[in-house]
Subunit: 337 residues, 3 copies
């Protein structure tokens, strides 16, 4: 693709040669003369890239054509889609897959050894990869991709344009027990569903349990990393980001646009208000209401408080020494007295 | 099912209309006139539920039939089983599954693409879902359910009435290495088994490694949530509860009826005495013996100590200020002296 | 196998009867007269073992033949391989597996329901177990074992002599997004590969994401436990040990021979210098450079500092009381003044 054509398809201005042949994308350091690269700094740079996406204020160059934009990383992301593209969609159902007669599949790609059970509906342009097991009465929208070895339990609802990476488990019963007088644990009814919106992406081996008496809900545009645990009746809003290995306990509410780091633990029935940002490894107590802002530590505190407290703890040696000195001085005063 | 029949099947007294038609269960807020619901509070409530399970002292109502009981949540759990039930057990072996000739299967349901390898025995009324891989010399009791895409390594033993959710891995070699003089790591022999009792439930993507020279053991009635790691030679007692993403290191002993929160880390060779309750995200050092009671933090402390310490740390600002003032006073005294 | 033959095959000296028949391995307490066992202590012990591997200085015994060595656990590990061995390698491809015509497989064992997609190459003596899904253009060296239900995405490279336990996911897209002005998240290109060296072992349900614009790399001899998360563009050196449930964020570098405990969280772009040892549940901030030595806590500190700080915090009660007393004394002094 020529540099000028890329600019035209992205509806942006090109400064410099519009005939440079671009065939790939790369980071600045590794880019070759046929690669598109980007920088977020306005400082002039040396790069072998054939085309650069740069921020406003970046100086024009005689040798390399540039595209100036407010958000170079975002434009690079869009350009990469043009240049690299996805493998072509190949509709068809592999002969080794088992599709129930009552299931309704659109124009889909279904790979080998897939199971689709009774009364399940899958929209057009979906790709269901090998070894995926989809239960009964499941609904999947259009253009959703499910990677190998995922398991979707009965009654789950998944929207359009979603991506489930390998090993994801949707709709298993939640972890809720009632203990009898003899100490035996009886599973509380886990009868709800998982309802996932559109454009949701789930990382490998992530688990989303079905609700107990209501549903577990993940809003559209939310992106979840690998090995995350979403318990029964959790309500996650739209465009939320959740990094790897975070665990969210039952009935917790995470409002739109929250950002949650990795290995965070959130107790049950907590509420994260829209705009809350939670640092990695933080712990949120059950029932806690977390206001917008940046939060760290266990139990979570506003970042500034967390830092001040950390500094105080680090200063304990000095504080103890200072106390010792004062004590000595006071003892001397008493001696003089 | 009529309200009177439900009471009769549960062997409890009904106050009010015995002819109300009940077809489902719901929580108080969402219950319709054909739903059973429950409350744990004796305060009068407004609910559209057709039948209520309530604690002693809950006032009778003209409109809604009630069942009084000591533990409403437990009775509701039992009632829900009557009303909702499981999908009918459909014995049979799917033609796409591969069952070794030397394997002995009872009256079981085996879904598509299941592998059962040589000399493995599976009891009556088991359901083995699609994509499950069961190795050699495995023994599985009666009425156990194994959800899709689980892997059971050779020689594992699983009791009766167990539930393994999707993606569970049983019996993989433990993580034990001996390092040679050149820094290379050699796997220490991992020759033991996993032995799981009856009525054990394991959450999705949970892993239980086989023992090194002995066995890894999980006692009957124990319930384990999603993404939990149980290392080699761990001994877990009966009716233990372990929440999601907790990791238990090698050779640790967890006695009967312990309750362990989510994301807890337990070092190797620790011992949790029966009745120990461990708060989420807590860390237990290797070799630590944890007495009965509630424990929090890393390293774990009794909850009361953890709280006092937390308060002390939060009070450091005030303590530092107080020290400063005393210093000033003392300096003044010296100046006067 | 006779005790003398074992010593001969290991090229070590035997003290005592060379004709003792040994058929298995066990730990000291459970060993029978036909078992090999080991001890790392030079103290005399009572054991029924038929052959003992012991450290220098261990006293000779009339009843039990012994082998003295510098590292008894290492020699025991080697001896166990002789005695127990692996199940025989049975080359062949199960008829239910789907191997693309363009894939090139050596003399391999491929179990049921395996998918090997186009242009993928697998070396001699590999064992690929049931339900494994291998994408396109994947390269796998010789003598590598992939346990059931693993997923290997396109373009991944795996060396020789590796072991991937059940449920491992290699090469899924990394978790990188660019947010637009409306708060929508767009996946940054995830076009790199995963490149894994030789003799690498990965625990069950562990995930290794592919690089964004470069590769994610794991060096030869590195051993990784269950449920570990390795993000895009992470560079792990040789002979590294990583325990269960640890998460490593994007672009972090872990140099050769590091040892990382369980549930550790490592922020992005951190560097762990060769010889760094990280205690379980530790947290390493993004960009942090960790020198060789033992590190604990969140954020990580050298172990000695962590311990001193912990002691200081535990001593806060006493410190506060001491301050109170001084204040009282000072107040009295002022009163006298």
């Amino acid at each position: 693709m020529k540099s000028g054509e890329i600019a035209r398809l992205l509806s942006v201005d090109l400064k410099g040669d519009g005939d440079t042949e671009i065939i790939g994308v790369a980071d600045l350091g590794n880019a070759a003369s046929t690669d598109l690269a980007f920088t977020e700094s306005a400082e002039p740079i040396v790069s072998k890239a054939g085309l650069l996406i740069v921020p406003a204020g970046f100086p024009a160059s005689a040798s390399t054509p540039i595209i100036r934009t407010e958000n170079p990383k975002l434009l690079f992301t869009r350009a990469a889609k043009l240049l690299v593209g996805q493998p072509a969609f190949r509709p068809g159902i592999h002969s080794s897959s088992h599709i129930a007669v009552s299931a309704k599949l659109g124009n889909v790609f279904v790979d080998a050894n897939v199971i689709v059970d009774e009364h399940t509906r899958i929209g057009d342009d979906c790709s269901i990869y090998a070894g995926v097991m989809i239960g009964r009465h499941v609904e999947i929208g259009a253009n959703t991709t499910i990677h190998p070895n995922c398991t979707i339990y009965d009654n789950s609802v998944i929207g359009s344009g979603c991506v489930l990476n390998a090993g994801v488990v949707i709709g298993a019963p939640g972890f809720g027990y009632v203990t009898d007088a003899e100490g035996k644990h009886h599973q509380f009814p886990q009868l709800g569903r998982v309802v996932i919106g559109d454009a949701v992406e789930l990382g490998s081996n992530t688990c989303v349990d079905r609700g107990a008496l209501g549903d577990t809900v993940i809003g559209s545009g939310t992106k979840i990393d690998n090995q995350v645990q979403v318990a029964h009746n959790v309500q996650i809003g739209k465009n939320v980001i959740i990094a790897a290995q975070t665990g969210i306990s039952g009935s917790t509410v995470i409002e739109d646009n929250c950002v949650i780091g990795g290995q965070v633990g959130i107790g049950d029935h907590a509420v994260l208000r829209s705009g809350a940002i939670i640092g990695s490894q933080a712990g949120i107590l059950p029932g806690k209401i977390v206001r917008p802002g940046i939060w760290w530590g266990t139990p979570v505190q506003p970042l500034a408080e967390y830092k001040r407290q950390n500094a105080r703890v680090k200063g304990l040696d000095r504080l103890a020494m200072s106390l010792k000195e004062i004590k000595k001085t006071v003892d001397k005063l008493i001696g003089q007295g």
